[in-house]
Amino acid sequence: MADTVKLPEDSFKQITAADRAALDSEKIAAPSLTFSQDAWRRLKKNRGALISLIVLAIIFIMAFGSIFFSPHNPNAVNPSYANLPSKIPGVNINGFNGTLVQAGQRIDAYKQAGASSLHYIMGTDYLGRDLFSRVLYGTRISLIIAVVATLFDLTIGVTYGLFSGWKGGRVDTIMQRIIEIILSIPNLVVIVLLILILKPGMTSIIIAIALTSWVNMARLVRAQTLEIKEQEYVLAARTLGESSFKIAFKHLLPNLSSVIIINTMFTIPSAIFFEATLSYIGIGISSPQASLGTLLNDGQKNFQFLPYQMWWPALVLCIIMLAFNLLGDGLRDAFDPRTKE
């Protein structure tokens, strides 16, 4: 106790009652954020999800922008320029400079075809159609099918789930039995059966995918509805005499939004996958229309000799699937802080 520190007198200040009132210890310094602002803040921290979002935006813009601006006509057949490898101006790496190995020697395929001045970024297919334009076109068709099918399946799934969960009791039991029956047939089998009945084509693919993939959404929405409908604010709304319809829209739907958005992010890639599988088998989109699946199917036939014809559409397909999956993961973490941090 020998060395007591002597603090100078002026380092202390007496607080008056007025000062204390001004201090306000209850004040929250951070701005108050809404649910979506908070989610967006967390999503921004997730690098993978953010990059996926940007990549998806670019792919969407390019795919739909190609309606107005496409480097070539995706359906223009030009047999003399058939099977040209990819040539990107300014890049001199084998595989991207328009050369290919023929009879043991690397030759300039463009010179051979008399097209030295042209360059096809992804090369051309067996009919001389520009593969880049084809891929853009195919991506567009695939995305349209996936997004439209998902919108339908969203509507069916959310309505079904909400109704089932809200009603409860016997209605719920029967509706759940129906779901169990649908779940016990592999999706692709049902889709194929539906397409056989509806005749192959874009519309029937959309209908078939929509009619089969709503089940997951319905289950999730139902489970969540069962939880939310016990909440006090729902009871309050009921007591105030709100109709069930209004409660569903004003109270249930907003609280279900995160579940719905997350599940949508996983439904879209699975729809793309189903479409690609169908077209790959040969009962999906038929030529001259193209989708990523048909492009893969075409490319696969020549894979041994012209691997780039399959690599490009495969790459685009995988990037889209990857981006949606990463974004879905990111959104799940963003909406449900418990899973991370």
Binding site: P186, V189, L193, A276, T277, I281, G282, L317
Partner: protein, 309 residues
């Protein structure tokens, strides 16, 4: 348990009955006739053929006959191979599909568990990053793209495995790898998430405090508890393998039911499509039933309520 089992089996039969009914009437809606060259046949010839296959009877009688046949495993005669009963066609083809499907499932789930557990044990290290990358890639790359790549690089370029055909075990390697990728990715992801959860729970702390070795904690407490919920995703994985097999069997030209399904669809062979739909649903129902029962046995908390969810 017995009561629960009886109830589940009743639902299984009900489901199959509905599947048969719906497919039967859907097939009746389809356009076209089973006759290959109708224009060359006279009216009486057509009538005779219809009589032979029982197509002259009213639809409800055909339905009852079909139902009675289906119970005994008789799904009619194939349109495509005119003398072959569908049941014979399918029973000779189901073997390869089952073999590849089971191999893919076992390989995928086991490797997935190992990768997922490693990722969770070394959370946020390079091992974990690899786990995440592998699982996200496995989910994002469609099995048919993977199949073609495997076939080309491992089969053709390196010559390690036969490219196609069906023979001994060596022929099943590439299709198994192609089909097993998704189950691998899904289960790795699932196990990792579960195990990260389990590893932060109190009883793991207790086990560590008791002085158990690291491996003891991982094996006896963490891994076992994270594996229980894995049973629930076996059903969806089975669907995934069935779906994938349709394309993968085609790529490797394996004489399985997936390849037959695609062939039948392209040739409008309705009786075979119906038979296959029923078989697919039957297999899936059985998988779901087994996983539910297993779940009840492994996790006693479920048995009390008598239902998995």
């Amino acid at each position: 348990m017995a009561k629960y089992l009886a109830k589940r089996i009743f639902y299984l039969i009900l489901t199959l009955f509905i599947v048969i009914t719906v497919t039967f009437f859907l097939m009746k809606l389809l356009p076209g006739t089973p006759l290959t060259n109708q224009a060359k046949l006279s009216k009486s010839q057509i009538a005779l053929i219809y009589q032979q296959y029982g197509l002259d009877k009213p639809v409800w009688q055909q339905y009852l006959l079909y139902l009675a046949g289906a119970v005994k495993g008789n799904f009619g005669t194939s349109f495509q191979f005119s003398d072959q009963p569908v049941s014979y066609l399918l029973s000779s083809r189901i073997g390869p599909s089952l073999q590849i499907g089971l191999q893919a499932m076992i390989l995928g789930v086991i490797v997935g568990i190992v990768i997922g557990a490693l990722g969770a044990m070394r959370q946020n290290s390079w091992v974990d990053t690899t786990t995440t990358v592998v699982s996200i890639l496995g989910i994002s790359i469609p099995s048919f793209v993977l199949a073609v790549l495997l076939q080309y690089y491992l089969g053709l370029k390196l010559g390690w495995f036969p490219i196609a055909e069906w023979g001994g075990f060596i022929y099943t390697v590439l299709p198994t790898l192609a089909l097993g990728a998704t189950p691998l990715a899904e289960s790795a992801r699932f196990v990792r998430t579960e195990m990260v959860d389990v590893l932060s729970s109190d009883y793991i702390e207790l086990a560590k405090a008791k002085g158990l070795s690291r491996m003891g904690v991982i094996y006896h407490h963490a891994l076992r508890n994270s594996l229980i919920p894995l049973i629930t995703i076996v059903g969806p994985l089975a669907v995934n393998i069935m779906t994938g097999s349709m394309v993968v069997e085609n790529i490797f030209s394996i004489p399985g039911i997936g390849e037959q399904f695609v062939k039948s669809v392209l040739t409008n062979d309705y009786p075979t499509i119906m038979g296959l739909t029923i078989i697919y649903s039957f297999m899936l129902c059985v998988v779901l039933l087994i996983t539910d029962i297993l779940y009840g046995i492994v996790d006693p908390r479920i048995r009390i309520t008598g239902k998995a969810n």
